[in-house]
């Protein structure tokens, strides 16, 4: 499990903890049933919310009468939109740096009209969720159905969903570099293809939830919230409840999966917070699974047409991409729903050298639930279209896909560089990642196995996909556009009198291991056993201000803040010890819980002695010495908008051409996320990400009919990957640290999800190629596979 020494970063010292594969302390609690999730909290006098949601995708609310519902047993109050007006203002999901991005005001409960199925319309507050649900059928709502737009292309030509916006084009952007026409004109071959990724959703196993409490005596709002970004949510509550920031506290309990789902402003959650303010009672809401499918953010409904020009040697000359995405009726607040498509513009082709590039994005409003940032935002689309074109182009010039990539991937060692879109890239290792992937796959042997299988009538497919991954975003991502989204994180490290350390960080723990990472970084800097480091996260009142957990930034940003704080504390400890020991602090080091002589390793005093001296025995200190045994540091990246990670994935599958079934046999990932703080956690982040990506490729889709009705709103109908269909996943690492931080860590949380769909798609098409067939519409259902075979006229009927 331990990485080879070559992967250990320069910060390592003899008692280093950075780079060690190490189980998480927090896991013990969960394995013993000791998790404390939102729904486990039940304060006295708690009211439970259930929502009447629009049955229509678009309809005018002609009448809404809640009187009968309000008199049902156990019901305390039934609230409609206007009831919340005195306490909450609406929000609009736009960002200033997305020029032209528009959206309409969104209220906690629909006002006079619903614009997607599942939009909350009224809320019942009762003594139990059961009682609240019992009352829902007693709400009288009369609807007049309005025209429904489900197709983004049709939407762009249709009357606007929000009349005041003029049309349904929420956002458009074109990036163009180089002379596209000239590049295509001199091409030896041009390949082109459509690609479709399906609208799907995050399916956190713990549904979204909120528990809000307004204390009228103190005039303070406390919100327990299963969120990735408590400080951001606090600011949103402050803004839209018209409170002062000192009046609001957000506490994040254990979170049962987030993946981007739990970082947005949801109408139902806002309604609960408003109701708590209004009624001065604790209000709790935990979405049930149907509500989750209806109202969690969706993502990835993209329709792409893309072309690639190559020369006779198989070198890419240019790419030309058209992307159309349907985002539902609102751009989601505060991150907006333009970012996903914008990532497609920024990232497509971003690991290949080429002369010219163009990508046009159009973002359309529709009457489906809003889409927003879900794990690997835009990257699965950008990678699928790029790697899909790469395989097509390889075929066009009769090159093996691996060789084609070898010729076109940006050369290692020639950084900084720019992606074709112009996005700056700090330092990547695409060529090495590809070679390492081919090595761990044993690519030549796989190709032989494939040939042998084919001779025996079995159809294996091998796919590879190179990729970049957006990590460690700077303020250029959101903050620049005016959103209350912090790109920096803060961390306080405190030495306790007994020689242990307490860390408070603005990161949040979602199971990814942020707390374990912070403990290891702190332990490393302080020469402590990580078991002696307690980590506090997820409370706006007890942690420094910072962004939280998103965009694969926890270790890279929050970890660096922690390293700086812990190093600062180390300096202070050594200064104090030096003063007491009459030694030059520069000659002292911290190892194994003690201050030691750096040269000899001889123990001089324990950290417990330092703590006791500092906190209790000021009388023993030399004159003028004021111990500072807590240190806070903040960090954000300044030089690059993102620290891109990179890598390559491989997939081996078997196609049953009679049934259209695909069986995944093995999956491989090479990831370069810079310094690995804990390879065990990184590996499992990647594996989990891969399986979400496989879900997108093979199973997952939110299906809607033409009237905007969700057709698969249960766990039985929406297919999440289960254990038996998933392959073993082998993970290997390269290490190109970012120079923007001392830690050198980039993120790894989204790599798996970003590139797995492309790898699976290329593997499937490798198998289909034998029949002259091809498929680029995800998910690759048996029916679609069979249709592709039929279209090629190739299948035995």
């Amino acid at each position: 499990m331990s990485p080879p020494d070559a992967l250990l970063h320069a910060v390592d010292r003899p008692n280093s903890w950075i780079g060690r594969a190490r189980p998480r302390e927090q896991a013990k609690r969960h394995a013993a049933g000791g998790g404390r999730f939102l729904d486990d909290l039940e304060p006295p006098r708690c009211l439970h919310a259930a929502f009447l949601r629009s049955p229509h995708a678009h309809a005018r609310l002609l009448a809404l009468d809640v009187t009968a519902a309000a008199s049902q047993p156990g019901v305390f109050r039934v609230l409609v939109g206007a009831d919340l007006d005195p306490v909450m203002t609406p929000w609009v999901g736009v960002l200033a740096h997305f020029k032209g991005l528009k959206s309409a005001p969104q209220y906690p409960l629909a006002r006079g009209r619903a614009v997607f199925q599942g939009e909350p319309v009224a809320m019942v507050l009762a003594a139990s969720r059961r009682a609240a649900e019992d009352a829902l059928p007693h709400i009288h709502a009369e609807w007049e159905p309005l025209p429904v737009l489900t197709d983004p292309e049709e939407s762009l030509a249709a009357p606007p969903i929000h009349a005041e916006l003029g049309d349904n084009l929420a956002f458009t952007r074109t990036a163009e570099t180089g002379d596209l026409q000239a590049a295509f004109a001199r091409a030896h071959a041009v390949v082109e293809s459509g690609f479709e990724t399906a609208r799907h959703t995050g399916v956190t196993l713990e549904p979204r939830g909120v528990l809000a409490h307004w204390d009228p005596a103190e005039e303070r709002l406390t919100v327990h919230h299963g969120t990735q970004a408590p400080h951001m949510m606090k600011e949103i509550f402050v803004r839209h409840l018209g409170l002062a920031e000192e009046q609001v506290r957000v506490i994040c309990p254990d979170v049962g999966g987030s993946y981007g789902v739990k970082i947005h402003t949801y109408q139902d959650e806002m309604a609960c917070v408003a109701a708590a303010r209004l009624l001065a009672r604790p209000v709790k809401f935990v979405a049930d699974r149907l509500e989750s499918f209806q109202s969690d953010i969706h993502a990835r409904e993209h329709r792409v047409h893309a072309r690639m020009a190559v020369d006779a040697d198989g070198r890419i000359l240019a790419m030309d991409v058209e992307d159309l995405t349907g985002i539902g009726p609102y751009s989601v607040y505060p991150r907006t729903s333009a970012v996903e498509g914008n990532q497609v513009v920024n990232l497509s082709g971003g690991w290949y050298t080429m002369d010219a590039y163009r990508c046009r994005l159009r973002v359309a409003f529709t009457n489906k639930p809003p889409t927003c940032q879900y794990r690997a935002v835009g990257q699965p689309v950008a990678i699928a279209l790029t790697e899909g074109l790469a395989d097509l182009a390889a075929r066009a010039v009769r090159l093996d896909p691996a060789e084609f990539r070898r010729r076109n991937l940006m050369p290692d060692g020639e950084y900084p560089a720019k992606a074709p879109s112009g996005v700056p890239l700090e330092g990547l290792s695409h060529q090495r990642a590809l070679e390492r992937l081919l090595e761990i796959m044993d690519y030549p042997a796989l190709r032989r196995r494939q040939a042998e299988a084919r001779a025996a009538g079995r159809h294996l497919g091998i796919g590879i996909a190179s990729f970049i991954e957006v990590t460690n975003p700077s303020a250029m991502f959101y903050g620049v556009g005016g959103a209350p989204i912090s790109a920096q994180d803060g961390c306080t490290v405190r030495l306790e009198p007994g020689g242990s350390a307490t860390v408070a960080s603005s990161l949040t723990e979602q199971g990814q291991g942020a707390e374990a990472v912070l403990a290891q970084v702190t332990a490393d800097a302080l020469g402590l056993d990580p078991a002696r480091v307690r980590v506090v996260t997820g409370d706006t009142e007890r942690t420094p201000y910072g962004g939280g957990t998103w965009a694969s930034r926890g270790t890279g940003i929050g970890g660096e803040a922690c390293l700086r704080a812990a190093r600062g504390l180390s300096e202070n400890i050594r200064a104090l010890a030096g003063a007491v020991l009459q030694a030059d602090p520069a000659t002292l080091d911290l190892r194994d819980g003690a201050v030691v002589d750096a040269a000899t390793g001889t123990g001089r005093m324990t950290l417990a002695e330092v703590g006791r001296l500092g906190y209790m025995r000021g009388d023993l200190l030399p004159p003028g010495v004021q111990p500072e045994l807590s240190v806070t540091r903040h960090f954000q990246t300044r030089q690059y908008p993102f620290a891109f990670a990179n890598g390559a994935q491989g997939c081996l599958l078997e196609l049953d051409p009679e049934t259209g079934w695909t069986s995944l046999l093995k999956h491989w990932v090479v990831e370069d996320c810079g310094t690995l703080v804990n390879p065990l956690l990184v590996d499992e982040q990647i594996r989990g990400g891969v399986v979400q990506g496989i879900g997108a490729a093979l199973f997952e889709e939110c299906l809607y009919d033409a009237d905007g009705n969700l057709l698969n709103g249960t766990m039985a109908d929406y297919l999440v990957p289960m254990a038996v269909e998933m392959p073993d996943i082998e993970v290997a690492h390269l290490c190109t640290p970012t120079a923007e931080s001392a830690l050198g860590a980039k993120g790894a949380g989204e790599a798996g999800t970003a590139a797995a769909p492309a790898a699976v798609m290329n593997a499937l098409n490798d198998a289909l190629a034998h029949f002259g067939a091809r498929l680029t519409t995800m998910p690759f259902t048996p029916q679609r596979v069979l249709a592709a075979l039929d279209a090629a006229g190739a299948t035995a009927r």
């Binding site: 649900e133 149907l290 199973f699 269909e725 259902t781 069979l786 009927r797």
Partner: protein, 283 residues
């Protein structure tokens, strides 16, 4: 979502359950393993006034005698899967068990509940049809009666079991010498309801197939017995029977579509399963 309120009565015997059914009629639902019913209640797809819990009435025995395999109504999927008597007398049933959902569901779900529900995508109704099982029904008013599987499944979630009746058992003929039984299905994920499944039995003598009974599930409102396929396969060699039965299937099945798999694709998959099932008989 939480279930709507209902009353609860626990039957102490089959007779008691029938008396309660007679009393409450259409307002009542029997609760056996509850693996479909409770999901429907929690989703508020079903809101009965009263549940009659038959979980404590016994009637879980699995017995093979006199050329019959009798599965009492409360025999669980797991118990059926573990039973040596089942594996010997009706191997198709043993093959079907691993396709039924997942272990925790198989520990609770019962054959009686599955037959009474009559889910057209479920395994047991199709197996019962393929093996021409008899369903033993009982009511306070009319006592016991037996209905052959061919007459039992009437429509979507509709069976010959009347509102005041309960399923007591299903009786399967024990497999004959030279009989082959196969249960195959295609589900997007293992344990999901089948896109298409087939439960098939036939005699294999001298390399020839006879008496093929193939019941398809997931292809209509009820499990469907493929009679034309049977006719086409009669007396043919395995390879020929497999092909002919598959070809004939278009006259037996007219599957409906769902959002990801249309009827034509289901028929096509059914043909593949038909062929594979017959081929598996010779394996």
């Amino acid at each position: 979502m939480k279930a709507a309120a209902f009353r609860y009565a626990r039957a102490t015997s089959a007779a008691h359950a029938q008396a309660l059914l007679a009393e409450h009629g259409e307002d009542a639902r029997l609760l056996a393993g509850g693996q479909s019913l409770l999901a429907a209640l929690n989703l508020r797809l079903s809101e009965p006034a009263i549940l009659i819990d038959i979980g404590r009435i016994g009637h879980a025995a699995i017995e093979a005698r006199d050329g019959r395999l009798r599965l009492s109504a409360l025999a669980t999927h797991a118990a059926i899967g573990r039973s040596a008597a089942v594996a010997e007398a009706a191997p198709m049933l043993a093959q079907a068990v691993p396709h039924i959902a997942h272990p925790a569901i198989r520990n609770r779900g019962t054959i009686g509940g599955s037959l009474a529900l009559g889910d057209p995508a479920a395994e047991w109704p199709a197996c019962a049809l393929a093996l021409n099982a008899e369903i033993v029904l009982a009511s306070a008013a009319r006592g016991e009666r037996r209905v052959s599987a061919e007459d039992f499944f009437l429509g979507l979630y509709s069976t010959a079991c009347a509102a005041d009746e309960m399923v007591l058992a299903a009786e399967f003929p024990a497999t004959a010498p030279n009989e082959r039984q196969v249960c195959l299905e295609l589900a997007r994920r293992r344990g999901d309801y089948a896109l298409v499944g087939v439960a098939a039995s036939a005699k294999l003598e001298g390399g020839r197939i006879s008496g093929l009974r193939a019941a398809f599930f997931g292809v209509g409102a009820t499990p469907v017995l493929a009679r034309e396929a049977s006719r086409a396969a009669e007396g043919a060699t395995v390879a020929e029977a497999a092909r002919a039965a598959a070809d004939a299937l278009g006259r037996d099945l007219d599957p409906p579509g769902d959002p990801t798999t249309d009827g034509a694709t289901r028929l096509r998959l059914a043909r593949v399963l038909m062929r594979r099932a017959v081929e598996a008989m010779a394996a």
